[in-house]
Subunit: 505 residues, 2 copies
């Protein structure tokens, strides 16, 4: 098994009277002997002399696959096969995360991230899309901001590892469809506009120099399936291996959008829809990103909030995992109803402010009725996607062997709280598997395993795509899912159990 | 049959709710339907919007083959398939000749040429090679001079046809190994230095932009077989079709070097060696290129020279075809012996000058003994190549159905004179076929016939290469071939006939 790059040490016999094939052919012939069909681009042809004789014909070639053929993109004297590096990247709307990988061992040598430089053009994606829409100069700005983000993280990786970007051969990028459009410099309005035919879903291998990167090889963008089901999700699904297993799995990435894949090696049904920013703390009034001072865990005991903040700092707001705990705790203590409405007489912490009920969870920090309503709508959207897909396939929640929950959010959330509020299905907790940055993992896997490339087209082809917005009874289903945990309590036996214990039923 | 480029008009159905594949896939899908596996490079991905909707999804794609896959290198609104252009080029050490081809009809729309801008770095190739040897800046200068030559001819073609270089898709270049090395920016000392392992013989398809050309596609360099048997010869052989015929043919390109291919569809034996500049008038004291005032034909009648000059101008020197006539006429009139030595008492025009005999062929213009000696050595080298190859294969001169004589020289030379001096074999004159710029023809053929590409590797692989310098008894054979027509008169029955008629035997 090898990845989309290779380093091969060649110890060639110098030309003789008997064997006077060209330098080019001398190299290609040896590579063919090793089973590799390759080509030499102009820059390499120009560097053959005096490099070959000076290196005594003992050198290492860096090979980069370009989708059709292997290209020799670098030559180094001596045996440098052990310095074989590559980059994988998860390009999110908020954050770009990258790893510098030792492609020989698969080891992660460095990881770094940066906020996406697109953010000044709009916190949310739509603002950025409208900024660039039909304005080539603005689009160029956004592309440049994206490229700057990559450069920033590449620099961090070099500082961390001492390895230059130019010593890495190729890069695999997983990103949602909008992000890939911006990275390539394509107008992304199509992503959000019917009939949702985007400009490109499978840009493939593009020379890294066309991005201004100093890597000598290529940038490979993970192919997407549809506008809302981008390469990041395909990459994430690949990382969990659901397409390879006999057992049924469900892969779910919840963020501003929810993307979901259900299936196994026989079939894959996938869907995506807008969930809303609430899950990431975006709409909640005191919501914030998961940085220092954010409440990430909480409990209500004996009428008192017990908070845990990031870095144990004084609380300044609440992040996604804190919000899930908040709802679960408010509900289990009877401070909110099954409809998520405050019951003011349950606690003196519940009071009116700005014409709505809210609860003070820390000095000066309140969680509002509108926050709850917003969050529950988002939760409902996300959950309905799962329910809808299960319905569609006739699969019951128990038949799913594993629920892979992707995203930073999935990694930090309390499973119990998420089940309590009906955000996660009420199944054996071991079946709920947070997979962290699955998209980055899938990018790394492809960097290291070229054969995945051959499998991707069939995988994408066989995926059935459901666009939830287009589903008729989606709204009806959502209304039922707005309740805590759900209008249909039968699906949540362990929550019912707890409710009974706490005399809520 | 199609060439290495295609133009295809696509009339696509715009995206709908039912068919919302990406623009990229919409184009590739239709091309696949037409049997073409293609890819879209970044520049094209970036131009899809708003181009596709603005053109009402009716546009023409320009496809360029890159050796592995078809690349969409241009999109034009509407049906522009009839404007389908390409360039073929014969890059000689002295002259670059190019044609602008209508790739739809195969018609030559324009032809232009220019002196190679390398000439200021050295009239002969070796001087240029030494100038650039181990001096990257000098090599860069020579490369730039080569590229400037291309630009000059491209400009001429545009002036002639009104078609821009950027409207031509790809270019096929046939050139000798040194010229291709310089065009690509590779040190060419290897071409002339044992063990003659050059840097590259088959650079393949390289993006035209890497040459600074405005063509959106590729530059394809005809592959060579060996240092002295470059792409120009392979191209020339292809043009004559000797590799396709059942009959035995001989392809010969005589210039400063002699290159020769003998064979048929079953086998091809090829060889090359230095012939010397004399054949092109380079060493002859009053020798000159075939330009105005050059004696290109002559006869001696009743002891008097009858000259024909180019453009009927006053004679200022003698070019290749004139020299061949000169030797034949001097010989047939008994003014020189079978060894090529002047017989001074045969004409008052023969006299001593600068310590050697010479003959005055025009006012102030003499042809010297040393000119004759030099030319005969060169003739001997060329002829010996043919004899040697025939000996090697056991084929008699009569068994060869056609002798294809390439090069401007071959086109203008008098067959009778060439046979008389033993430069051409003494066979049925119809078998002696001047093919002109065969190298340019072969380049054009490949531009228009992509299938040739598939055949080239096997063709090159199956060629047996003989390097004449390396042949032991080559010098002995050459000595015999220095005589007029040859020491072995049996091979020249028609010359013997004439000699008898003129009482020279």
């Amino acid at each position: 098994m090898h990845g989309i790059t290779q380093k091969i040490y060649l110890s060639l016999t110098p030309p003789t009277q008997e064997d006077f094939v060209s330098d080019q052919e001398r190299i290609l012939r040896e590579l063919r002997r090793q089973g590799i069909q390759a080509e030499l681009p102009l820059s390499i042809l120009q560097s053959l002399y005096p490099f070959c004789p000076r290196s005594d014909w003992k050198f290492t070639v860096s090979l980069a696959y370009n989708g059709s053929v292997w290209s020799v993109v670098r030559m180094e004297a001596g045996d440098t096969t052990r310095q074989h590096y590559g980059i994988c990247a998860d390009l999110g709307s908020t954050t770009l995360v990258m790893q510098l990988i030792d492609c020989g061992t698969g080891q992660v040598l460095g990881e770094a991230s940066a906020y996406n430089h697109q953010i000044p053009f709009g916190e949310d994606i739509l603002t950025r899309i409208f900024y660039a829409k039909d304005q080539p100069e603005h689009l160029a700005e956004i592309r440049q901001a994206t490229l700057d983000t990559f450069q920033e993280v590449l620099t961090s990786l070099t500082e961390q590892t001492g390895i230059l970007a130019s010593d890495c051969i190729s890069m695999v990028v997983a990103g949602n469809t909008t992000m890939i459009h911006f990275l390539l410099g394509m107008d992304a309005f199509c992503v959000f506009s019917a009939p949702y035919a985007v400009h490109a879903l499978d840009p493939g291998f593009l020379p890294a120099r066309e991005f201004g990167f100093s890597l000598p090889g290529y940038v490979y963008c993970y192919p997407g399936k549809a506008n809302y089901l981008g390469g990041d999700i395909i990459s994430g699904a690949i990382a969990t291996g659901i397409h390879d297993k006999e057992e049924l799995s469900l892969f779910f990435d919840i963020g501003t959008n929810g993307e979901l894949i259900i299936g196994n090696r026989e079939f894959l049904l996938c869907g995506a829809g807008a969930a809303g920013p609430a899950l990431e703390g975006g709409v909640v009034k005191t919501g914030m990103r998961a940085v220092e001072g954010a409440v990430e865990r909480l409990q209500i005991q004996d009428g008192v909030f017990h908070l845990h903040t990031i870095n144990n700092a004084a609380p300044v707001g609440i992040c996604g995992s804190g919000i899930v705990d908040m709802l679960a705790q408010l509900f289990l203590n009877g401070w909110i109803t099954i409809q998520g409405k405050f019951v003011p007489d349950k606690s003196p912490l519940i009071h009116m402010e700005d014409n709505e009920y809210c609860v003070t969870y820390a000095p000066g920090l309140c969680f509002y009725q509108s926050d709850i309503d917003e969050f529950l709508k988002t939760k409902a959207a996300a959950v309905t996607m799962i329910h809808y897909m299960l319905d569609l396939t006739g699969i019951s929640p128990e038949e799913i062997s594993h629920y892979y929950m992707a995203g930073a959010f999935g990694a930090h959330i309390s499973k119990e709280s998420a089940v309590t509020i009906g955000m996660y299905p009420d199944v054996d907790r071991e079946k709920l598997v947070p997979v962290g940055n699955a998209s980055l993992k899938g990018a790394k896997m492809l960097l290291l395993d070229c054969e995945l490339l051959d499998r991707l087209p069939a995988l994408l082809e066989n995926m059935e795509y459901v666009q939830f917005g287009a589903v008729d009874n989606f709204i009806n289903l959502m209304v039922a899912a707005t309740a805590i945990p759900h209008t249909n309590l039968e699906q949540y036996p362990s929550v019912v159990e707890q409710m009974k214990r706490r005399h809520l039923l």
